[in-house]
Subunit: 192 residues, 2 copies
Amino acid sequence: MSTDPRAQRSRAAVVQGAAELLLADGPGGVTVDAVVQRTGVARSTIYRHFPTSTDVLRAAVDAVLPEVAPGGRALAGDSPRDVLVRRVTATAEQLSTGAWVRALPALLELVAREPALEAHRTEIVARHRTDLVEHLRAAADAGLLPVGADLGVAADRLVGPLFYRRLVTGEPLTPELCEQLVDSVLTPGDPR
Amino acid sequence: MSTDPRAQRSRAAVVQGAAELLLADGPGGVTVDAVVQRTGVARSTIYRHFPTSTDVLRAAVDAVLPEVAPGGRALAGDSPRDVLVRRVTATAEQLSTGAWVRALPALLELVAREPALEAHRTEIVARHRTDLVEHLRAAADAGLLPVGADLGVAADRLVGPLFYRRLVTGEPLTPELCEQLVDSVLTPGDPR
DNA sequence: CCAGTACGAAACAGTACTGTAGCGAAACGG
DNA sequence: CCGTTTCGCTACAGTACTGTTTCGTACTGG
């Protein structure tokens, strides 16, 4: 029943097409008709797999959201500062990607309006955050942060300005900015 | 013709009603029928004042956006640090206001999708920014910032984490956080 | 090979929104 | 006070989307 390759194929096609539409046109662009036209999957087939069009959108969000967490692997010989710089720069590059420039505001608007997606948001943010906080803890252990520093706030100070620039002001995210941000969090008073 | 109080009244009612709908339900909630039902202004009257429903939405955005710039007046006797703390705290409080919690993501999504609104965005951001940069310059003149500091980046470091928390993580914006942010930008190395 | 199943195509009612048009009533202003 | 303007009301065609249903076809797995 669920092992039928036809069912798996068409379901996957629907989710992928819906995800593409989500990235291209935002949540409002994920309509059943649009998915039909894009994927060639029939209308009745979509409604056989998903109770409602909202569930299609939810599946698309599920398919898209995991990409938010970069999870860059840290090389062994790197200094904690280098790890942070690479991590923050990776986030900046990801935020500058064409797809995310359009999708991020749409996703935020969607999450703000749909309480059902709140759980997804916190999960993704947590994954994104614990990764970053882990790097910060390593830096703190190396004495690069003040003793009582709140690592959560430090994380906000690292990536907050990046999201702010991308979402609000529209200014570019340069590698120099990323280094500046890391150095502004590390070693307060001795920027070296 | 345009001095007729009837025309002015109904136009103002439409704009105000549309702005309320924009804050309450987002851009998608600003439909002609919704404005009719909310304001009592007739359908034909709305179309007599605005060529298309998009123009109604644009007028609503115009009516709502100026509120973004807080423009808190600085009291004479305050230290530059106090001015910045009050300014950042005011921004945090505004971001925590119920209306803006719902409206901000919607507005960002709208601006991201409608290139026609890009000019508005840059204008509002500029007003918001020059105000903040002005305060930062005063602090720099008082020797509270390193000599070569980029005031634009300093502004990003001040309010970026606030927007990030509000938009992405959903964490609360406490007065303590605001003070921490100001102190993290001022006097690097001498947090006092 | 063949019964069971998923499929594509197409038509359907229902809802919501846009933009237009015509009409009589009420308000404005000289 | 009376002509002009604006108003509210209602009806209308057109579009877009949702969710349901039917039917014949093609694929899958035992």
